[in-house]
Symmetry: C2
Subunit: 354 residues, 2 copies
């Protein structure tokens, strides 16, 4: 648009050179910042690029082995806010480091397909975010290791030989239990903790051992009514299960929920049953999503420490720039309990004599 010069579509450095009245090699040297080119010539090339909007062909550069370092990011779902946050943050941090990223959302059972796509795009590292089918992901990791393609799993634990970054769910539940125990709670309701995925199982293990540490027994001192409600673990699930709890005489004094939506639903149901939160019942969520601040009272929850997770992931990805890691690395990020208004001292009538 500048000097209304010959507006033309330029598709290669050769054409760009022709447009600028230079040799292709000269243009190439300018593009790659080589020395021995007059500033005036550099300016001519720069100007030609601007006028034509030319961009070097990434395919050709990659073929020639001079492409950008590229990470393929495999998302299990985009419907869980913390996952999306991790994705957005990771891509942002990668870009800051000059690393390109490719993103694909994968339907279950099609992980191989997406991994193939990334491999065909010559991704230098393949990263998975979310909780995939263990068998499927194990296969993929094995294949990638055999082919010496660097990889990283975020938020997926329990995969042998894989590089992983994940928050320490067991430790997180230890802190939750400790927090509730300090408040005097001795009976616990578990809501949505029966999902047969490793990320929930790990939490259940944490609860079990944490209770044991305080002399309690999960089989005796905790209760789950999940089987009563057959639906995904969302707000309505929490509401229905908590409503069932509220109708029982042996109602626990504290509820540990699988996520914040479920916890928010539980709070609503408890209030609808005439109970006060936290005076009559405490509720803890998981994830520290926005909804925690929308619930009344605000929700005590576990923060996933997304910043730290992404930072560790970034580090591991960059550590594999040249070649795969010698030994597989599993990084555990400590989680933090965020204390808000949905947890409080156990009701005096039920206070344990200590």
């Amino acid at each position: 648009m500048k000097k209304s010069a010959k507006p033309r579509i330029v598709r290669s450095t050769a054409e760009l050179a022709e447009y600028a009245g230079l040799a292709r090699t000269t243009v190439s040297r300018v593009l790659n910042g080589h020395p021995g080119v007059k500033p005036k010539t550099v300016e001519r090339v720069r100007r030609a690029m601007e006028e034509t909007g030319f961009t070097p062909n990434a395919a050709a550069m990659r073929l020639r082995g001079k492409g950008d370092y590229t990470v393929g990011i495999c998302m299990e779902t985009l419907f869980t806010p913390p996952m999306v946050t991790k994705l957005a943050l990771l891509q942002q941090r990668l870009r800051q480091r000059g690393v390109k990223s490719l993103i694909e959302v994968v339907e279950s059972g099609r992980v191989h397909e997406v991994v193939q796509h990334f491999r065909s795009m010559q991704a230098d590292c393949i990263t998975f975010i979310g909780q995939f089918d263990p068998a499927e992901i194990t296969n993929q990791v094995a294949m990638l290791k055999r082919l010496k393609v660097p990889h990283l799993l975020i938020d997926q634990s329990g995969i042998e030989g894989a590089n992983t970054v994940t928050i320490d769910r067991e430790q997180a539940m230890h802190e939750v239990v400790a927090h509730l125990y300090e408040l005097g709670h001795r009976s616990f309701g578990l809501i949505g903790m029966n999902r047969p995925v490793e990320t929930v199982r790990a939490r259940l293990r944490g609860i079990t051992s944490a209770l044991a540490k305080h002399g309690l027994d999960i089989a005796r001192d905790a209760l789950s009514l999940d089987y009563l409600v057959d639906r995904e673990h969302d707000f309505a699930f929490g509401r229905e299960v908590a409503a069932a709890f509220a109708r029982r005489d042996d109602r626990p004094t504290a509820f540990i929920c699988v996520n914040d939506e479920v916890a928010a639903g539980a709070v609503v149901a408890l209030k609808e049953a005439g109970l006060r939160v936290p005076e009559d019942a405490s509720v803890v969520g998981f994830n520290n999503q926005d909804i925690c601040l929308m619930s009344i009272p605000t929700l005590t929850t576990v923060d996933q420490q997304i910043d730290e997770t992404v930072e560790a992931a970034l580090e591991l990805i960059l550590a594999q720039t040249s070649k795969p890691l010698r030994r597989s690395v599993a990084r555990l990020i400590p989680a933090a309990v965020i204390r808000r208004d949905s947890t409080g001292p156990v009701p005096s009538a039920r206070r344990p004599r200590s």
Copy 2:
């Protein structure tokens, strides 16, 4: 792993052919499904691929002009649930059609950078989802048109000469106003409707003309207290603004909110002020997010018709496979009011004499 054959890393069709004991051209014919190859040979190649995990180099194929049709998707944000839903659905539908997609999340002011990346990756169509800076996006669209690169904007209106798919926000607000008018409401509170972005302005225009159609005047019969609260338009914003409304004598009977979070906040504030929803005040949200069903009462809102939007987008993207459209296309998707429990008849004390 199968026959524990020579496990080797194969990087090109030439190496694959060597591995299988065939000529590279023969392997190539198999890969491209050409006729004149014995089934037994096809099987040999298939097996070699499986054993070595070989994947053709996408860069080379693209360079040769035989790459997959690829769409670059530019996301303005991943923090708005409807946007993410559109993204996930669009990518899924594209994959079903054999179209590859690249996704990048863009920070404001860096659109050009991302577009350049897509162009260097030889994306065949560049799609933008979300509400970008108008000046920036106008520039980018102009450049893409000049370079004859197909493009599409989703959820962005008001860009001259661009191909767009977006819901009809004016019509949506007409329906909202009609719904409330039928219920007897004659005075309206607008919450979060003052944001200077086209997608909100369009709604405001819709409200204005809809009110006019019913003989009302937005300047006289609607009220905004947005200026009292300086923060992004989230749950807390809705709560604070609605609290301010509740303290006034000239409180409107119906509240039209910029999104569902704000509406949910407004409902909470109204209830905290001792008002009943919908008996004393009606509230309408926008987007039909999950939170609508978590609010008590459930929220009346406007559904974005994401399925239809994505379907229309898909159609427009595929229509540009060979070359850009002759004339730019702007598709408006009709939105739908979802009537739930947060809207009801106007309080009898204020019922208009009709």
